[in-house]
């Protein structure tokens, strides 16, 4: 199949938002979709339900909160990844981490502390699993 030469390449086939290499942002970023950062960001990044990817050229000086974080570039700041944090080879992260799971490849630079936060209690309380399966959540008082 021929590709359209006039169509700009998308950063992510799944249609996440993207901050390109030549972009610099100073401030707060809130997103309700996945975000790919390959530029410079200074401030805070929050993606409560989504995945944040810091590309190889990404330089982030920010506190980060996201469901999942993948680091290929550089982060200076504390990272809270509700589900998973993935620090790839050649990535650099300076800051304290709170996450449920962490993957750190040999060759990655990390300076800070790692706290593994168990999500069992949160998951038990959240109706997410029930709603995902289509089952309505019913509160029932037993005597």
């Amino acid at each position: 199949m021929a590709t359209n030469p006039f169509k700009a390449p998308e950063p992510d086939a799944r249609g996440s938002a993207s901050i390109g290499k030549a972009v610099k942002i100073n401030g707060q970023i809130f997103s309700k979709e996945d975000l790919y950062v390959d530029g410079d960001v200074e401030g805070t990044i929050e993606l409560a339900e989504n995945k944040l990817t810091i590309g190889p050229s990404g330089r982030v000086q920010a506190g980060i909160k996201a469901r999942e974080v993948v680091v290929l570039g550089q982060i200076q700041g504390n990272v809270e990844a509700m589900d998973k944090l993935d620090i790839r080879k050649d990535a650099k992260l300076v800051g304290d981490i709170k996450t449920a799971r962490i993957i750190i490849e040999d060759g990655a630079y990390f300076k800070g502390s790692i706290d593994i936060v168990k999500l069992d209690a949160k998951k038990a309380a959240a109706p997410a699993a029930a709603s995902a399966s289509g089952t309505p959540v019913v509160a029932e008082a037993k005597r």
């Binding site: 962490i102 502390s113 790692i114 593994i116």
Partner: protein, 226 residues
């Protein structure tokens, strides 16, 4: 001289070998990686000591590695990894005759690696890093470690027991379980000091106690109590 492969068999190697770049010799030069596993009484004592506790802070001076992070966090503790040998080379230069006595460089090294509040850590995994430090730096590091660890906390340290060795293998220490370590040897680097038991007692004089574990291999395991 025995080839590396044969040496690893004598040590009880698991046999896995792969090429990697040396952290010290020639930076980028290709050296063989030798993987061995060993039982460690020191490790057993270290984790036995913090048994039945959770939420402790452990400083791992061997750098960030998946095995150690998984193991320590699975026990419910917080881990703070610091790659002390890498920082040693960055601060003082990765050369055999590196001068580690400059007061400004020592201060910078401490600031980069051990800049924590008093009583921050409940345990420190120093592995074999101390033997690559010359007296001025070593004393400053031990003084700082004493400052940032809680009373009764433990330090786990390894020293080469080959007294005539001018250089020691560089290992990456990976925790497999409470009693077993996987050692990944990547090249060697000059040993700054070699200690006998008496020397180690003097070295850790400011700490409460020092306990030695003799092993068949040329590694001396030491548990130091703050």
């Amino acid at each position: 001289m025995l080839p590396d492969r044969l040496k690893s068999i004598f040590r009880g190697s698991s046999g896995a070998q792969e090429e990697s770049s040396s952290p010290f010799k020639g930076k980028g030069a290709s050296v063989k990686e030798i993987v061995t596993t060993r039982q460690s009484r020191g490790l057993e004592q270290f984790f036995g000591d913090i048994r039945d506790q959770s939420g402790l802070s452990i400083l791992d001076m061997g750098g960030a590695c998946q095995d150690n992070i998984n193991f320590i966090t699975s026990l419910g503790h917080r881990i703070t990894p610091r790659s002390i040998l890498q920082s040693l080379d960055e601060t003082f230069g990765g050369v055999a005759e590196a001068d580690q006595s400059n007061a400004h460089q020592i201060e910078s090294f401490l600031k980069n690696n051990l800049d924590y509040l008093p009583d921050t850590f409940d345990g420190v995994l120093l592995w074999d890093t101390l033997q690559f430090m010359t007296p001025p730096l070593l004393n400053a590091v031990l003084e700082r470690l004493h400052f940032i660890t809680r009373p009764k906390s433990c330090l786990l340290v390894y020293f080469s027991s080959e007294e005539r060795a001018k250089e020691s293998p560089v290992y990456s220490f990976r925790i497999e379980n409470k009693t077993t370590l996987k050692l990944i040897q990547r090249g060697a680097r000059p040993t700054a000091q070699v200690f006998n038991n008496r020397g180690l007692e003097k070295l850790f004089a400011r700490f409460e106690s020092v306990k030695f574990f003799l092993t068949r291999e040329s590694l001396r395991e030491v548990i130091v109590r703050r």
